[in-house]
């Protein structure tokens, strides 16, 4: 059990080197990969997220924690796939057309990954068609859209309309976020959920996928 605590600490402290070393050692000792995720990785990212929400952590610490988590996850993922393990849910994420702001979206993507989701990141400046095509091809549970500019926010609405027109809106939940976005705006444009930070986004995603 000492390994799990060490992995938890390494991720929370953003120490990627240690996180990878501990994961390698644990896997060599045949520790169940799923337990590394459930008992170290997810709790550590949850804790990093709540530290972020209470302003103890800021963007750099959260990103470092996410990098440490990803280093460890890269080792575990092939084993999970081989064992046929199912993720909590599949998420497509991207920053909308016309908007190049990436950091907030990347944080949410990392936090979702750390929360046990399979995340397909379409990047920034993602065209409406690209979201729609990805929903058709990958059949995700959830689609997350980010916009950092008031002038690009309307692309979220356009994307939701396009999903409707393509007949796939009912197959997927939609969550939106970004500095100028509000819960009111989210419901106005017909999104299913809104979160105002990366940690809240994971909670909301779990809620939406469970619903």
């Amino acid at each position: 059990m000492a390994d799990l605590k060490k992995l938890y600490d390494a991720i929370l402290n953003g120490d990627q080197k240690t996180a990878i070393a501990v994961t390698e050692a644990a896997l060599a000792e045949k520790v169940d990969p799923q337990s590394l995720i459930n008992e170290a990785m997810i709790p550590a990212m949850n804790e990093a997220g709540s530290k972020f929400e209470c302003e103890e952590y800021f963007v750099p610490e959260l990103l470092l924690a996410a990098r440490a988590m990803k280093g460890s996850l890269a080792l575990i993922r092939p084993l999970l796939a081989a064992a046929g393990a199912e993720p909590v849910g599949r998420v497509i994420i991207g920053t909308v057309k016309g908007d190049l702001h990436d950091i907030g979206k990347n944080l949410v993507a990392s936090m979702l990954e750390g929360g046990g989701f399979e995340v397909i990141d379409l990047g920034a400046d993602v065209a409406v068609d690209k979201f729609v095509a990805a929903v058709k091809e990958r059949n995700p549970h959830l689609i997350c859209m980010s916009a950092l500019l008031t002038v690009t926010m309307p692309a979220m609405k356009t994307t939701i309309q396009a999903l409707r027109e393509a007949g796939v809106r009912e197959n997927v939940k939609v969550m939106v976020g970004g500095a100028p976005v509000t819960a009111e705006y989210a419901s106005e444009i017909g999104a299913d959920g809104y979160a105002d930070n990366a940690s809240a986004a994971v909670r909301k995603a779990r809620e939406l996928v469970a619903a």
Binding site: E55, V59, P60, N106, L149, V151
Partner: protein, 505 residues
Amino acid sequence: MPMRDAVRIRLEPLGETFEVPRGAPLRDVLFSYGVEFPCGGHGRCRKCRVKLLEGRLPVHPEEERILLPGELRDGWRLACRCSAVSDLTLEIGQWETAILADDREFAFTPRPGFAIAVDVGTTTLVAQLLDLSTGRVLGVRSGLNPQTAHGSDIMSRVQAALDTDGLGRLAGLIRAGIRGLLAELLAAASRPVAVSEIVLVGNTVMHHLFCAIDPEPLSHYPFQPSDDGLKTFRAAELGWEVPGNPAVQFLPCLGGFVGSDILAGILATGLHQAAASTGLLDLGTNGEIVVGDRSGLLCASTAAGPAFEGGRISMGMRAATGAIAEAGISGGDLQFHVLGGAAPRGICGSGLVDVIACGLELGRLHPSGRLANGAREWPLIGAVTLVQRDIRELQLAKGAIAAGVRILLGQLGRGRPEKVYLAGAFGNYVSHASALRVGLFDFAPESIAAAGNTALLGAKIALFRTAAEERDFSALRKLVRHVRLADDPAFEDAYVDSMTFPAAS
């Protein structure tokens, strides 16, 4: 030339001194120095209070009703109710706009006539009347950009312009605002002057909204303006009544959101002629950065947010009476300088940078930006405190600038520039030592120089480019390459790295 029967007014805390005709209403006088009258100057809202430090201002009956007896005794008056009947020294209760005019000397070839240079700022407009035969500034007027009612940052202006009839409305507002300044400038001149031309500089959004060019391309990636060149008008077609109907030129932009205010800044600081690597930083809500030398310059803009102007800081304010504008350490403790000697009521950008630099030195703050000992709040002086989120706002702002500088220097393939000019109000007032301590930049201390309002200075220099010389600055524009920071794959890492504070040296 001094006016006959004029009185002299001195404004604190900025130390501006000027003359007005005896009996002039303070409302008219102070409005042109950026003081606002929220109730319309009807003596109802108390917001235009001024404190009489020297001189005489008889108390109006309405003031007795609206101000407390103690306030009247301390010299507080309502500017909208008073007239300048004697020489006055006034402290402005509400000093919303720290205006930076320019009175630096520059080299020029005299020519006959008069001209006007205008700095079209997102927040503030400044106009100077210039005697082209002497290079002397005959008058200066400034005021708030009337577009501020449609948002304080350039993106909200773009959005307002995209609404139905928005472009016409915003263009009308800015043209009317400048018309007012021009009328005042000409009316105040000691003799009638024939203005031969008017030159305007501003960022790309101001360029578009003044010239009534659709800003739609500026509303989304790749933020590439389609028409950002030199624009020439006649005063009359803008609705301006200027004798002689002179030509009005809005100088060309440099690329993306980087406009002719920065082109003017390059002219003013001579970056395009520099033999050694030089930098120019304009630290506003939209920070602009230029680096390079006479063989080539790179420029970029980066959204720093309003923290340098006290925006989005819980007790943030502009550099006004009652603002903590400076802080230092004495005997292991923080010492503050509050503007106007008043009771502290907030903190402005330069004060914020000082306080955070001191906090790092005193161990009240970790290099991560966290307040020590898990504190959520840091009481400074009086009722003024900083909360954790305020520090985060500064980290975002300074991180954006520092990362932008790092990316541009990286693309340029050079080390630190040998000379760096800081333009604009914040750049003028911020302590270089504190800016270095918080990691806003990491230039050699002796290389940094405040350069004042380089946009206005550069606009004046442009006025001396005679018709034969190019006014579209095609050679200079070829020398400057605009860089979209977000396109550089190293930007995100540079930004995140630059958010933390340097560890103690």
